[in-house]
Symmetry: C2
Subunit: 349 residues, 2 copies
Amino acid sequence: MELTDRKKQILKIVVDGYIATAEPLGSKAIAEKMPGKISSATIRNELAELVELGYLEQPHTSSGRIPTPKGYRLYVNELMEQHTLSAEETASINASLGGKMAQVDQLVSQAGQMVSRFMGYPSYAMAEGRRDISVRRFELIAVDSGSFIAVVMLSDSRVKSQLMPLTLPVDGQTLPEISHLLNTHFTGIGPEEISRHLMNLTDQVSGQWFLLLNQVCDYARQLLQEAAHQSVFTTGASQLLKFPEFRDVDKAHDLMSFMVDNKENLPVPTGDSPMQILIGPENVNDALKESSVVIASYDIGENMRGLVGVVGPTRMDYATVAARLSYFAESLSRMFGAGQLPAKEDTKE
Amino acid sequence: MELTDRKKQILKIVVDGYIATAEPLGSKAIAEKMPGKISSATIRNELAELVELGYLEQPHTSSGRIPTPKGYRLYVNELMEQHTLSAEETASINASLGGKMAQVDQLVSQAGQMVSRFMGYPSYAMAEGRRDISVRRFELIAVDSGSFIAVVMLSDSRVKSQLMPLTLPVDGQTLPEISHLLNTHFTGIGPEEISRHLMNLTDQVSGQWFLLLNQVCDYARQLLQEAAHQSVFTTGASQLLKFPEFRDVDKAHDLMSFMVDNKENLPVPTGDSPMQILIGPENVNDALKESSVVIASYDIGENMRGLVGVVGPTRMDYATVAARLSYFAESLSRMFGAGQLPAKEDTKE
DNA sequence: TTTAGCACTCCTTGCCTCCGAGTGCTAAAG
DNA sequence: CTTTAGCACTCGGAGGCAAGGAGTGCTAAA
């Protein structure tokens, strides 16, 4: 059953007001904000029905009304005015995006930081990659008699490198030959297969070689493992304390420690809409049942998506957050979709 | 003027008790904890003098006593019992240290995380490096017609690498030649000098070459800058909320946002004692005037020191924190001093 | 120097009251 | 049938007050 226009209007006023002040709205205050002259008594009748229907509730008999999650949901779906970003807002977002972000891993975490700082809510960020990552290319570089550099390029184009000690001196040919061996036998496969292949080689190569191979393969396996186990970054948890609903230290503590200790369980978007809003109990996770989350995702080229989420009280300013977050995500996509990944973007418009 | 033994004993009981419960201690409670039979009246006389001398204070007339910063200081310097770590504690620390830490940068941050998690206090961590870092070695690796890998080894033995786009195709000789050029002209110098050298080359090399040189030098400059501007990691700020002194949300918020937004101003050890305790107003920074900080540093080989600090209320459990932190720092030093990490530089050239 | 005793201080807790914002309901008006 | 005015009622919050208790300082005796 559909709500009448007037009911919707009232609902919108209640949500808007409650978002702004965190105080329940009374019939009189609402009456004043309604266009046309309507008495508070009329409003009261409407309010009673909205409560009946489950869109509003009152913290106690005889106090104003506040939205229920169902109320927020309707608001978000239909009533919310599209917040259009002001020139300053876009400028400010563009400014945060200005700094160049080198490594994919850092990129994601930085995106989270920017969002949190810019929006004034805690945020979290992660990369949603594909799971089947392998090594695309090995390169060993001689440094001096005691060490060499292992460079590993992964199938998602990330490059990692590390200095490694050389337990025994080697002649000039050894490293290139080992590189070659690695590139022919150890690329394009997963970590377990790397181990298997390595085992097969035990008696085909000299102990010296095997030592080196093992060293590099260890490193590669470690990288692959890291890449598979996607990490989540959270920032700005302390921003929660600004909100009156978290004056209760215990509540704040619960949510904050959930965000840092249980990052992996923070919601990820279902379906493939670019932006998603989860209101209060819509969150599966208990710790989030009294909070809302806005999630957006963006492209980082190469089958990878970045994901950034904003956490706040159910009374979160959905319109503004959604607008900003979506602009943010679009900008990021444009940045990385257009110019490819780790490259420079300083020659941009 | 020295305190009598009995005064010290009383002071110790007050500090111990207040650390444990966050409640002021009364004369009666103290009397019970004193060895031998002493009446509460006697204790009262002593307490009055300790207040007079500035070691204790009372939140209001007629309430128990709590330690002043001066009191804590004496406690820390003389009275505190060395907390010796139990087998479980050391085992637990060793377990956290078990995981291998690859990159120097991550290492430092991970050390902070472990400390925070293990101690139950917020913590911060940074690396104290030398300032005059330069590039020791360049290496460019061809990948395909559209990109190459730049590997840069810094003078502190860290190795960084990144995939770069190739704006124009190059022949097989170009990259090695450019590497050579970079290695002969751009190693061992600071970021400004890199820029200067590059300018000098503008009309000596082809535009194509210059483009590539510029690309790599940009990257190198960025790395040097990053290395010089040491970054600080903070973790576990939410742990603050566990302490009753931070039930006041505003206080908690102030300190927490200080820790994340003003990391650079967190205290670093003065002098060269391996561990330092800063109590309340001994902190220069206003935001920390009501908190205490315990700092320890550890070696990461190669002239570099890691630094990790624990932040808590002045009523922090100094004995335990100090013991654990120092064990932690020692273990880290041992781990990296002894062996492997980012590398040893045994050949001097 | 220590101790017992006592009056005093001041925080905490619970209780009570008052106030006001806001409600639901009823009855009259449109 | 809907809207409005009026009125009694509810309930949380603020303020005041008294009782309780933990702890003190002081004094006088051991």
